[in-house]
Structures are given as structure tokens and as C-alpha cells.
């Protein structure tokens, strides 16, 4: 009975699988944190009035969004050592590539949030004597952030799923461990089915939290935030 076989296999290799899950989760979280910072810098660059700051920021964001994640991963891991002269381990390369991909989308997400703030808010702040940085920090970004939360969390879901490709450069995530188990057992069906289930459960859990939060946010905030479309 294949279900029993699947269960036995999962139990037998639980340590390996758990360590794979741990790598996947840590990689997704770290990449996302890095992407949030890099995305913010890129976003501020895009919003800058100075062309010298804006042009590279726009180029960076467009590059990140318009190259496949697999290409970015391989490029960072195998080409960067020659370009910048530093060789990263597979985990670090994966983190950089994933953060790069997400930061492009996050920068756009931030920008949309900031630009959604009504002009009247900025004018009122200016008329009260606030400087650009003060009004961004105190008035615009706090309001924009609440509107950005669903988008940021959605990007985390995407980033989490994207981690599955890092096995290609031998990062020992779930996918990679599964490949090892398959080579040891010659049982691709139960192993890959198990992996699919593990991803499904994890991503579904995160997505559910995102959906719940997205519904919750406009109500806990004291003002009318547009509800973002489905997760």
C-alpha cells in the first residue's frame, strides 16, 4: 500500500527531511529580510529626484524582475567569483540570488504603497513645516506600510517557493535531501509526493496567515485601506 510506504519512508528519513525543511525555512526568512532592506534602498533610489541615484535603482529593479531566478542563482554562484573576485558558499549565493529577485518586487511594492498616499497628506505636512525626511518618516511611510503588508507577505510566499531551486547548486534543502533519498532508495514516487506535501502544508500555512492578516489589517487600522486582491 503506497500510503503506508510513503509514511514509512517519511519516518525513516525524518531527520534528513527535517534538516532540509530547516534549511529551506532559514533560507527563505534570511533572503526575505535581506530583500526587504535592499528593496527599501532601491525604492528610495527610484523615488529620488536625483537622476544619478534614480537610474541605477531603476536598472537594478528591472534587472531583478526581468531575469529568471534560476539564471540569477547560477549567475551569482558561478559568474560572480570572476566578476567581483569573491566565491560564496552555495547557501550564501542562494540567499543573495533569492534576495535579489525579491528585492526587485518589494521595491515596486514599496513604491506603490508610498505613491498611494494622497498628495494632501504631503502638502499638509509641508505646510506645517516638516522637511522631506520628517514627513516621509512620520506621515507617509507609516501610512504606506500598512498598505504594503499584504504585498510583502505575498512576496514571502513566492520567495519561499523559489527556494526549491537552490538544490541545483547543492544547498541541502528539502528538495536536495529528497534527491539524495531517491538515489538511495530508487523510490521517486513516494519521496517526491512527500516533498510536495511538505511544501504544500508549509506554504498553505503561510498563505493562510497572509490571508488572515490581509483581511484583518484594514479593520485594525483606523482608516480605509484598500483591500489587496487575493493571495
Amino acid at each position: 500500500m503506497s500510503l503506508i510506504r510513503l509514511w514509512n519512508l517519511l519516518v525513516e528519513y525524518q531527520d534528513v527531511l527535517l534538516s532540509g525543511i530547516k534549511i529551506t525555512v532559514v533560507l527563505a526568512v534570511l533572503s526575505m529580510l535581506l530583500a526587504m532592506v535592499v528593496g527599501l534602498i532601491a525604492c528610495l533610489g527610484m523615488l529620488s529626484r536625483s537622476r544619478i541615484l534614480r537610474a541605477p535603482a531603476v536598472l537594478f529593479v528591472e534587472f531583478c524582475r526581468n531575469t529568471p531566478i534560476l539564471v540569477q542563482l547560477v549567475w551569482v554562484h558561478y559568474a560572480w567569483p570572476e566578476i567581483i573576485g569573491v566565491k560564496f558558499d552555495a547557501f550564501t549565493s542562494s540567499m543573495i540570488a533569492l534576495a535579489m529577485q525579491s528585492s526587485g518586487y518589494l521595491a515596486e511594492e514599496y513604491r506603490a504603497g508610498i505613491e498611494s498616499i494622497e498628495k494632501g497628506q504631503i502638502e499638509a505636512s509641508q505646510s506645517l513645516g516638516m522637511t522631506y525626511w520628517r514627513l516621509m518618516r512620520r506621515i507617509v511611510i507609516p501610512q504606506a506600510f500598512i498598505r504594503m503588508v499584504p504585498g510583502i507577505l505575498n512576496q514571502f510566499v513566492t520567495c519561499f517557493k523559489s527556494t526549491s531551486i537552490v538544490s541545483i547548486i547543492a544547498v541541502p534543502d528539502i528538495m536536495y535531501q529528497a534527491g539524495l533519498i531517491v538515489s538511495a532508495t530508487f523510490l521517486p514516487m513516494p519521496v517526491y509526493t512527500g516533498v510536495a506535501l511538505v511544501y504544500f502544508v508549509l506554504v498553505f500555512l503561510i498563505s493562510s496567515v497572509v490571508r488572515w492578516l490581509s483581511r484583518k489589517l484594514p479593520m485594525t487600522s483606523y482608516f480605509h485601506t484598500q483591500q489587496h486582491a487575493g493571495v
Binding site: 494622497e118 497628506q121 505646510s127 506645517l128 513645516g129 522637511t131 522631506y132 482608516f223
Partner: protein
């Protein structure tokens, strides 16, 4: 500066949005402690004019003198020195502005809205700012709303909070950009009362308004604009009661019906 000099003086001010000429050479002097009512049909440039005074809009020609500061197409200068972004912010802090759409900060409480600039811009302590804010809120009968968020207030209440938010900075000049146009008719009275009794209070004020009766009551001077030009100006009774220009007559007749 001698006391008789106007606080605000506009000298052939021109403003364009692309090809559209919004202000076509405006000359206007606003003496100290006077209240000017700016009236005119929509699109006449009156809102743009007040927005140019605190530099929310740039001008393309002429000059605006406010105290010892001069605004030209090149920016702001004082005593021959160009003002930095920080100087411009301080300049704006001395001019209170009330908007048609209130523009309260939705993520801050009523009290938070009012003390944001005194604490952040003027560097007052929170306690001092709160004391002054509460005193002003009591004067507009909204003290009990201090902990509430703007979204829970009526339009008239929001606009009174916005007036208090401007007044706590103790500005020398107050600008009102159609302060009651977004309000239901039954709510305009409470706002106009606050403007008259509290906000003007000896300050130099410019009020863009469609409320001609109110203009007549509070203004020392009424300016009628049309098509980016000042068509007629003078004492309220003259401009609103017996206008000289045909365009003024037809506008006053239409609005006052």
C-alpha cells in the same frame, strides 16, 4: 521693516501648469493684520494663488514678498541668500494653512495630529504641546475627541481640528483654501465661527471662499478673480454690494442668489 508695509505683496505673479496660464500677472498687497477674502469662479486661480504663498506651488514669473522672504521662479531667498530645504520648511511653519479636504493624518489621533508639528518641528516638549493643544481643542468644543481618530469625526469636526493643528504653531499668517467647500451646508456654520472667532484673531489672513456673506462679515478687503487676473478689489460692501465690473456683478449675482 516699517509697520505700514504689507506683510504679503505679490508682484506680477505668473503661474502656468504646462500651457495653461493659471495666474497671469497678479499684483496684490496684504497689509499687516488684515483679512482678505478671495472670491471668484472655479478655475479663476484663487486656490493656486494662496498655494503659491507658502510655496506648495512654484511660480514662473514675478515675485511674492512675505515679510523679508522673497519667492521667485528661482526659489526662495532672504537678504540675497537662497533658502535651503530646511529654511523653506521653517518659512512654511510660520504660515498656517487650512485645506478644503482637511488633510488630517489618518494614522494619528486628534491630539497626535495637533502636536505632531509642535513637537517635531518646533521642538516643544510633549507635555507643553499637549497642554496647548487641549486648550485650543476646548475653544473649538472638541476636547473630548482628543483620543479619537479623524475617521470617526464629522467633516465639520475634522476641519476644526485641522484649524487647531495650524493654529498651535502660532502662525503670523493664515491661509484658508475653501475651508467649507467640502462640508455639508449644516456644518459650515460651526467652521466659519471658529475661523472668525479664533483663527483670524489679529493675524494676517487670506480666505478663498464661496461664502459671500461670510466674506462680507470678516474680510477687510475683498478680491475678485477671474481667468487668472484680479478683476476688482476693494471694501467688502463695495465689491459685493455695488460691484463696478460686469464680471463681478454677474458672479456675485449667481453665487448670492
Amino acid at each position: 521693516m516699517p509697520a505700514s508695509d504689507p506683510v504679503i505683496r505679490l508682484d506680477k505673479v505668473e503661474k502656468r501648469f504646462g500651457k495653461l496660464e493659471v495666474l497671469r500677472g497678479i499684483d496684490l498687497a496684504v497689509p499687516d493684520s488684515t483679512t482678505i477674502a478671495l472670491i471668484g469662479p472655479s478655475g479663476s486661480g484663487k486656490s493656486t494663488l494662496v498655494r503659491c504663498i507658502n510655496h506648495l506651488e512654484r511660480i514662473q514669473g514675478g515675485a511674492i514678498h512675505v515679510g523679508d522672504t522673497t519667492i521667485t521662479a528661482d526659489g526662495l531667498e532672504r537678504g540675497g541668500r537662497r533658502l535651503s530645504a530646511g529654511d523653506i520648511a521653517r518659512y512654511r511653519a510660520g504660515i498656517g494653512m487650512v485645506f478644503q479636504s482637511f488633510n488630517l493624518f489618518p494614522h494619528l489621533t486628534v491630539l497626535g495630529n495637533i502636536i505632531e508639528a509642535p513637537t517635531g518641528v518646533l521642538g516643544w516638549s510633549k507635555a507643553e504641546s499637549t497642554d496647548k493643544a487641549m486648550a485650543l481643542l476646548r475653544k473649538v468644543n472638541l476636547a473630548e475627541k482628543a483620543p479619537d481618530y479623524p475617521a470617526t469625526l464629522s467633516g465639520g469636526q475634522q476641519q476644526r481640528v485641522a484649524i487647531v493643528r495650524a493654529l498651535i504653531m502660532d502662525p503670523r499668517i493664515m491661509l484658508f483654501d475653501e475651508p467649507t467647500s467640502a462640508l455639508d451646508p449644516e456644518l459650515t456654520g460651526e467652521v466659519l465661527r471658529v475661523i472668525r472667532d479664533l483663527a483670524i484673531g489679529g493675524r494676517t489672513a487670506i480666505i478663498v471662499t464661496h461664502e459671500l456673506r461670510f466674506a462680507r462679515e470678516v474680510a477687510s478687503h475683498v478680491v475678485f478673480m477671474d481667468g487668472g487676473l484680479i478683476v476688482e478689489q476693494g471694501a467688502p460692501d463695495q465689491v459685493l454690494g455695488s460691484p463696478r465690473e460686469e464680471r463681478t456683478r454677474s458672479f456675485v449675482g449667481r453665487v448670492a442668489h
